[in-house]
Amino acid sequence: MTDIATSQPIDAATAPGSGRRLRTATQIYMYVALILVAVIVVVPLISTALGGFKTLSDLRGNPFGMPTEWQWSNYGDIIVSQRYWLQMGNSLVIAVLTVFLTLAFGAMAAFCFAHIRFFGSDYLLNYFLIGLMFPAATAILPLYIRIRDLGLVDTYWGVVLPQVAFGTGMSIMLFRNYFRNLPSELFDAAFVDGCGYMRFFWHVTLPLSRPIIATVGIISFVGSWNSYILPLIMLNSESRYPWPLGIMIYRGEFNTEWQLVLAFITLTILPTIIVFFLAQKHIIAGLTAGAVKS
């Protein structure tokens, strides 16, 4: 993880191919290519944000450029609407609960697998790792029936618990690998001093595990914040919809008024973009390293 986290691609000392100075022609060709790809990435996003400021007829004639007249009310009406904040709130509650339980359950189980040998421990670990091999969608109908029979349909828990369950494999895997690489002298010393497993977990393991807690936390937060299929199936009331479902409903309601839909999309992805720019190093490292290691 650290090798990605601390990576500085501009650092000439570590970059491959740095043995020779790049020729100007090569550099120009590189910049043209990189800027071209960057434009393709960014133009849809910027056009979406600008489109939210236009009138529908303006959008029809002028999908690329600046708005002829800035329609601030498109955004203003959504910002003051209850539904926008409700959906953001729903997404946040679901994501925070998911992250907390994924971290807690994953770290606790991984601690057992990392430090204690018990009858069948290898089999049990492999049992958890089965969960890494197939997506939640495969068993979505029986899962729905189970959640319904537990009385959790149309509640936050009906979304949170399956998300945690499907995240345990990843969480246990990442935590266990990390715990096992902590220096074992710590463990020996703690036991000589008469420290039990639980105190060791709480006072030694967890404080040393901030990087992996961040990685697992970021993976499960992003997954939950963006999740669509589980809320789609488990929730019925619009008042509990997280924002990805909200976009679909909004689009269904205003399907003749693209400018409003664009403003709505922009406002819903805005938190993601802001957080991404603020914490980009951690987010990129967490998502990439987490994927590689699990």
Binding site: S7, I10, A12, T14, A15, P16, G17, S18, A33, V37, A38, V41, V42, V43, P44, L45, S47, T48, L56, R60, N62, F105, A109, F111, C112, F128, G131, M133, F134, A137, T138, A139, I140, L141, P142, L143, I145, R146, P162, T168, D188, V192, G196, Y197, M198, F201, V222, N226, Y228, I247, M248, R251, W258, V261, I269, T272, I273, F277, I284, V292
Partner: protein
């Protein structure tokens, strides 16, 4: 420790102390092992069993019934649900589409990602900025990306329509045409995921020993020769990992399709999961939908196992 014991039999004191420590440690292990196991394992174990493993088993069971999800499944239909799946044209289309996503990833996305990664890893100003921009689509929700591109592809109000207008051409409606819709979706998949693959390659490039490339330099290798003969072979494991993620991602693709086409027009953009949703979930055909889930499960597990066995055994 054992050395001092065997070579210097007189000095028992120094040897005895670690042994006593060991015994005490063993005893303390024995005493405190079970409480922690009984407290720490059950939450994850119960949740995982009840919400992941049992539903998968139940899917296998329900798949032999015709059932609407209420009461108990009673109408046994044997293998009929499976026969219906494999006779369904939309399902074969979904299989083809999942395959197309993997092929597009191997032919376009991964080479693109590798190309960008080599440029960003070379000494170039603004590398950090480009890395940030290219990764941005990956953190956006699939639903949002799908909705944004629905606007981009819109013939009347979107960017593609605007470009056509600029050239005085008739606006194309790619998403509404069954011959072009899937290609349009492939474009969005690449737009959204190339940055992730690029990051894998950047990490892979950093792990390459610089001295190998310097040796190639001294031998007078050109930039392209260095890439083809040194860098690329050393990136083998990253390429295999990247392809693996493309396969896994393709098998899960659902969120992005729904805002773009929902699987239409006339089922031309179904994937396995949209097929499961459109034919199993929305019609509450629990038996049929479960059978689709079982087929998807078998495909996922078979691919994961055989891919790891065949391509990634040395990684």
């Amino acid at each position: 420790m054992s050395m001092s014991e065997t070579t210097m039999p007189g000095r028992t004191y120094s040897a005895a102390r670690p042994r006593a420590t060991l015994q005490r440690r063993k005893r303390s292990l024995k005493h405190s092992k079970w409480p922690v196991l009984l407290l720490f394992l059950p939450p994850a174990l119960m949740l995982f069993t009840v919400l992941v493993i049992l539903p998968m088993g139940e899917a296998a069971w329900y798949s032999f019934y015709n059932w609407n999800g209420y009461g108990l499944p009673e109408q046994w239909v044997g293998w009929r649900n499976y026969q219906l799946i494999f006779r369904n044209g939309a399902f074969s289309q979904a299989l083809i589409n999942n395959g197309m996503i993997v092929v597009a990833s191997i032919l376009i996305q991964i080479p693109l990602a590798l190309w960008l990664a080599t440029m960003i890893s070379s000494r170039i100003h603004g590398a950090l900025f480009f890395r940030l921009i290219f990764f941005l689509p990956y953190v956006l929700a699939d639903v949002a990306a799908g909705m944004i591109w629905r606007f981009v592809y819109d013939g009347d109000f979107g960017l593609v329509g605007g470009i056509a207008h600029l050239f005085g051409a008739e606006p194309p409606y790619w998403l509404a045409d069954r011959d072009t819709a899937m290609y349009a979706i492939l474009g969005v998949v690449i737009w959204k995921y190339f940055g992730f693959h690029m990051m894998l390659f950047i990490a892979g490039l950093q792990a390459i020993d610089k001295s190998v490339l310097e040796a190639a330099d001294i031998d007078g290798a050109t930039g392209f020769q260095k890439f083809r003969l040194v860098t690329l072979p050393l990136l083998g494991s990253t390429v295999r990992l990247s392809v693996f993620f493309a396969v896994v991602g393709s098998l899960q693709l659902f969120d992005m399709i729904m805002p773009l086409t929902g699987g239409g027009p006339s089922n031309s953009t179904q994937t396995m999961v949209t097929f499961l949703y459109n034919f199993g979930v929305t019609r509450m055909q629990v038996g049929f939908g479960s059978a689709v889930g079982v087929v998807l499960f078998v495909i996922c597990v078979t691919l994961a196992f055989s891919y790891k066995r065949i391509f990634m055994r040395h990684d």
